[in-house]
């Protein structure tokens, strides 16, 4: 079949055994690849009783049918159960690793077991070699990538963990292609629990395309569309994602001091516009990406990638820090050590609030830029107070008797949009299958950015419907394993056209939306079996009870309950958030 190679391998690191996993004939059509196929495989291999850091947990690296063919198809998904949230989790990363994994001969790789000592996997021509990584243990992600490339192939793409993953920090990330990160949910900790330091993929296998002429024409058309679009053709390449700093601040929903305020007086100094005029060296792009939103940057002391919008907020405004160079170097440190910047910043914000209240023993103060890098380092190595930070904000706040000081949903820290400023985004945070995440349904699009339609951000009307739709579309795009930024320029019919051109199949837009809905419901069903229900589809009391004190979102709180009832009804779930039997049956789950 075109698109998919039809080869998913499984490696047991305890025994060293390998096998090709047979996939039922209809799974590719019903789950596509990436997030969808990964979650389906995970739920057949593991149960809600599986300990995320135990040897029998599965860690799945998955591509989709489009990887290596169309624009932005270098991405991959990592799927497992999150040690931070205990929900099902998938984490996405850009770069080229997803395309090169297919060029190395695999659609995906399932890893179970635990190696007796550190190893890395070299994957080439569909074969997997387990190699010693004892000499790599302790290296940061950049050193590791360089070393593994040196030991395998100069064109290898390497995904690896840093010290944070080795030490099983609950929000450790996986880095690939220098600074691209599968950041959220602690997939790096799962990798570290398996004594797996890195995966190196390299090869020249071509991904079969059913209709190359049609794809050539489509690509030429898309190049023009992306170039002409003011966001994908101008704003993102020139200013990157941090262009949102000033925009969110102008709406009074740029979180400051652990979400106690929504306006940051020093926003200009950490904005995308400021980064472009001060630190930016050049744009950087993922595999076959015409947008190039990445930022190669340099401070007086170091160079690296970023910071992206989420990171400049998490390590900046959220902590009351306005020193752009310190924020940027803290971002570099998170990348090198292998830490999710959002959870790192959310946890530090929680610690600062607890310290300000006098209930936390650490020496933490709002605006302390000078200590930022050492806190991050201590977290990655689980040293001193860092061992407490390494557990994330929920566990930290619970330990000190102030669980409401953790700005999280289901244990995952909420990113850089105060939910009181956008009711739909609030519902999306509350109902996200992997916890406080903006990428399950980016309601900031319609509620703030006016894309693809404009909606009143303070109204709850129609928000349940659009959150459910956006969740389904996001699950679909993550399963095609393409970049979400493409959605700024094209609609679902373009994704259908891509999929049919590459695979030769006859998907309709409706069928693809149904695939998205099936995947989202499958994830929800896993979470329900793991004990999650309506009680967990909530937000910290701050957002439900405390009004924002100033700015254009002043006096707002989230009106969650009225949206939640409607959302469950649209989803075909009962009042406790459990999918009804007829919903399960209709989706063929």
């Amino acid at each position: 079949m075109s698109g998919w190679l039809g080869k998913i391998a499984k490696v047991d690191l305890s025994s060293g055994q390998q096998e090709i996993v047979p996939i039922p004939a209809d799974w590719q059509r019903r789950y596509l690849g990436g997030r969808g196929l990964g979650v389906k495989l995970y739920t057949t291999l593991c149960s809600p009783a599986t300990d995320p850091l135990a040897a029998d947990n599965a860690l799945i690296f998955m591509t989709g049918p489009l990887n290596g063919t169309v624009m932005t198809s270098g991405r991959y998904q990592v799927i497992s159960r999150s040690p931070l949230t205990l929900t099902i989790c998938d984490s996405s990363s850009g770069g080229s690793f997803g395309a090169v994994l297919k060029q190395a001969g695999l659609d995906g790789l399932i890893i179970q077991g635990r190696a007796k000592s550190p190893v890395f996997l070299a994957i080439h021509e569909g074969k997997i070699e387990i190699r010693d990584a004892g000499h790599l243990w302790g290296l940061n992600t950049q050193q590791t990538q360089r070393a593994v490339i040196g030991e395998t192939d100069r064109k290898a793409s390497v995904a690896c963990i840093g010290p944070a993953g080795e030490n099983q920090v609950l929000f450790a990330s996986i880095l690939n292609d220098k600074d691209r990160a599968a950041g959220r949910g602690g997939m790096g900790a799962v990798m570290g629990s398996k004594n797996l330091k890195a995966l190196a993929v390299y090869g020249n296998r071509e991904v079969p395309v059913a209709n190359p002429e049609a794809m050539k024409n489509l690509t030429a058309r898309l190049d023009r569309i992306v170039d002409k679009n003011p966001v994908t053709g101008k704003s993102l390449p020139v200013l990157g994602t941090s262009v949102l700093v000033n925009v969110m601040n102008a709406h009074g929903m740029f979180p400051v001091h652990n979400f106690r305020r929504g306006v940051f007086n020093d926003a200009e100094g950490i904005s995308g516009e400021k980064i472009a005029e001060s630190l930016l060296q050049r744009q950087s792009a993922c595999y076959k990406c015409p947008i190039a939103c990445g930022r190669s940057t340099k401070t007086n002391n170091k160079q690296g990638e970023g910071p992206e919008y989420e990171s400049v907020w998490a390590l900046g405004a959220n902590l009351g820090i306005s020193d752009l160079a310190a924020i940027t170097e803290a971002n570099y440190a998170c990348n090198e050590l292998g830490l999710d910047t959002i959870t790192m910043g959310g946890t530090l914000g929680c610690a600062m609030e607890l310290a300000a209240e006098g209930v936390f023993p650490g020496d933490f103060h709002w605006g302390d830029a000078g200590s930022l890098s050492s806190w991050i380092e201590d977290t990655a190595w689980q040293r001193g107070i860092g061992a407490e930070l390494a557990q994330g904000s929920r566990r930290l706040a619970e330990k000190y008797g102030r669980p409401e000081a953790a700005m999280q949903v289901k244990g995952l820290e909420i990113p850089a949009y105060d939910p009181r400023g956008a009711q739909g985004m609030a519902l999306a945070f509350a109902t996200s299958n992997r916890g406080g995440c903006h990428m399950r349904a980016y309601l900031i699009g319609p509620e703030i950015l006016g894309h693809p339609v404009f909606l009143d951000r303070f109204s709850t009307a129609g928000k349940a419907e659009i959150v459910a739709l956006f969740q389904d579309i996001s699950a679909l795009v993550d399963s095609l394993t393409l970049c979400r930024f493409l959605q700024l320029a094209v609609g679902i019919s373009t994704f259908t056209e891509m999929l049919n051109g590459v695979t030769g199949l006859d998907f309709s837009d409706e069928e693809l939306l149904r695939v998205g809905r099936r995947i989202y419901t499958l994830e929800r069903s896993f979470n329900v079996q793991a004990g999650f229900n309506r009680r967990d589809d909530s937000l910290p009391p701050r957002f439900l009870q405390e009004k924002l004190p100033e700015g254009p979102s002043r006096n707002r709180v989230v009106q969650l309950d009225e949206m939640l009832d409607r959302y469950y009804a649209i989803r075909g779930w009962d009042g406790n958030g459990v999918p009804l039997p007829q919903t399960i049956e209709t989706l063929g789950l």
Binding site: P230, G240, T241, L244, N246, A250, E273, L449
Partner: protein, 97 residues
């Protein structure tokens, strides 16, 4: 100039790079957004409306114009009034996340 007699207009994203300034102040007691954009063009000496509007003068998808933090799409769009003492934010289409 008295605060009540001036409108502060702030620029973000590509628009700021195009105009090479963060803001201008207009000595106007009251005007519509449509008129205000033309006044800004006169003041800056730069034709920038294509960054925000289509050929018919309507806002492009993704253009954000705020008067004191409130989106004019929820007010009277281009006919929305701005008055002395107001702050108007002009944001050419952006994305991210």
């Amino acid at each position: 100039m008295n605060v009540a007699e001036r409108i502060v207009v702030r620029f973000y994203s590509i628009l700021r790079l195009r105009l090479k300034t963060e803001r201008v102040e207009l000595a106007v007691a009251e005007t519509t957004i449509k008129e205000l954009l033309h006044l800004v063009e006169q003041k800056t000496g730069q034709k920038f409306l294509a960054e925000l509007l289509d050929d018919a003068g309507e806002m492009l998808m993704g253009t954000i114009i705020l008067v004191n933090g409130k989106n004019i799409r929820l007010l009277k769009k281009m006919a929305t009034k701005a008055r002395g003492g107001d702050t108007v934010d002009l944001i050419s289409p952006v994305g991210g996340g």
